[in-house]
Symmetry: C2
Subunit: 312 residues, 2 copies
């Protein structure tokens, strides 16, 4: 498997990206290859500093890069030799099996739709992330930020996309799906949520179990898939960051709370596009980058994009 990494992306690029990539090597298997995409000079220097001469690491030099403050669409089209544009080009030409970046999220999304395209039949791609449960069961929640406003049909299809994610990435046998709402009764919520409930309830391909309220998140007995719009999902993701911050600030020690650290999760896959792409947090350092790469490995290993193509 060949995983491309945007070495120029993120607040601590390129050093932390290269460090995280090197750390990930010990968790990968023999035939896996890391393709470091970016300016070759600092890459060579850092690899030497880390005493890494693995034959599993390949460098693809690029002369440009897209910064965190660049305007996404403009930068993507005006910088064809940037690490993000080159990564997407390689993905499209099957020179990579997966690609990940902690860089400019907008540019990553632009590349996903401009270069890779959405899988035919997918209404809107989504960002998916893991919700760790108290009972060690993980759920996937989507969307967590790509589409702040979702039509009922889109929410219903997120149930399908999430089920494929849960089946192949989380290895859930017959994934259960719930709709995030502000009450358990099907009459609760906005008109969009009520309409989505009906579509999901009547969809033969969904193992739909009704509504879930936010006080049941992160706890015992979560479903495998939790569906919400990108506004609500993003709020949930970020509120979790707030609580993790409080936990750290208060000097508490707990193995469950540690699982809420974004560094443990690493990245959020874009679900519904024609290849396997994972986006990391801009503030990612060494450990977060390593986990972003391992998350990409898991998504490629599950053959997620292909499984969605077959199912939709």
């Amino acid at each position: 498997m060949k995983i491309g990494i945007d070495v120029m992306g993120g607040d601590f690029a390129p050093d932390s990206i290269i460090e995280g990539a090197v750390d990930s090597l010990q968790h990968l298997t023999h035939g896996d290859e890391l393709v470091l995409i970016g300016d070759e000079t600092p890459i060579h220097k850092k690899l030497k500093e880390l005493n890494t001469s693995s034959s599993n690491v390949v460098i693809v030099h690029t002369s440009q890069f897209i910064g965190m403050g660049d305007i996404p669409a403009k930068a993507y089209s005006q910088k064809p030799d940037s690490s993000i544009a080159v990564g997407y080009k390689m993905l499209k030409e099957n020179a990579l099996d997966g690609f990940c970046s902690a860089g400019n999220t907008g540019a990553m999304l632009v590349g996903a739709s401009y270069t890779l395209n959405v899988i035919p039949g997918v209404l809107r791609p989504a960002l998916a992330t893991i919700v760790p449960g108290l009972d060690n069961h993980n759920a996937v929640i989507l969307d967590v930020g790509l589409n702040p406003e979702c039509k009922p049909e889109v929410l219903c299809q997120y149930g399908i996309l999430g089920s494929i994610f849960a089946r192949y990435v989380l290895e859930a046998q017959n994934p259960t799906v719930k709709l995030l709402n502000i009450g358990e009764e099907e009459t609760k919520g906005t008109s969009t949520i009520k309409a989505a409930y009906e579509l999901m309830r009547d969809h033969p391909g969904l193992n739909f179990e009704g509504n879930i309220e936010a006080n049941s998140l992160f706890r015992e007995s979560m479903p495998d898939v939790i569906v919400c719009d990108g506004f609500v999902g993003n709020v949930i993701l970020k509120q979790t960051e707030a609580f993790y911050h409080i936990y750290k600030t208060r000097n508490l020690k707990d193995s469950y709370f540690e699982r809420l650290d974004f560094e443990s999760i690493g990245g959020t896959p874009i679900v519904g596009i024609n290849a396997n792409v994972v986006i990391g947090h801009g503030i990612s350092r060494r450990r977060a980058i390593m986990n972003m790469i391992l998350q990409t490995w898991a998504v490629v290993h599950a053959n997620l994009a292909q499984k969605i193509k077959e199912a939709i």
Copy 2:
């Protein structure tokens, strides 16, 4: 001050309600009076059991009550001698200064609009609750569940209602207001949020400071007022419950996390109606009820409904 308490409302009524009411007495001042509204037989029995013969406690007997499973509007109109209906009637006639209940939320809301009416000029009332900050500064967030879908004008007015709450209940001098969004930039979010941003930015009566993301909630440097729609606010409130549950389950001990316990906060005032009303959580026991009553005291003490009437 006369505070009415629905003794029949909540999962642990009437016993826990009476216990919480008696506990609240020690925090109230000499002239305050608690009006226990409900079936007098268990009230007398419980007060005797608690050895309470305070002259500050008055009983108003009612022959009916609205259960947690009753259909709100139907129950409210068909049970005029229920504790909720009698409480609202007394409020309207100024026989009470404030009223609170941990009972059927729907019936409480029906009573608020049927019997008390919305303050003229208020577009939609809201439920407001406290967000405790790590630096001991409290914010108020609204709406947390009354209006799942809010027009931009309603969100803007929540900024005003919240500012009045912050000024008179939280004693903030010149309350700062932020809009909950999924990015700090004003171009982020849904079309509704973007429109609300513009209205709030241009409103001369608001000390508006832009967007706040959910990872800044509960932390240091919160604004005094946080505005969101009732769907998002309810998710935030309930996700907080989830984290408090995790904290308890993991046997952690921390004074900050204890402040997240709904029992410490007690209840959420309905803001924008013609009197001071507080709604408690259905699962409230003794301590939560005491704090619901003290929260009602604070809202009455601040003269919240009257201040809003004067401002709108």
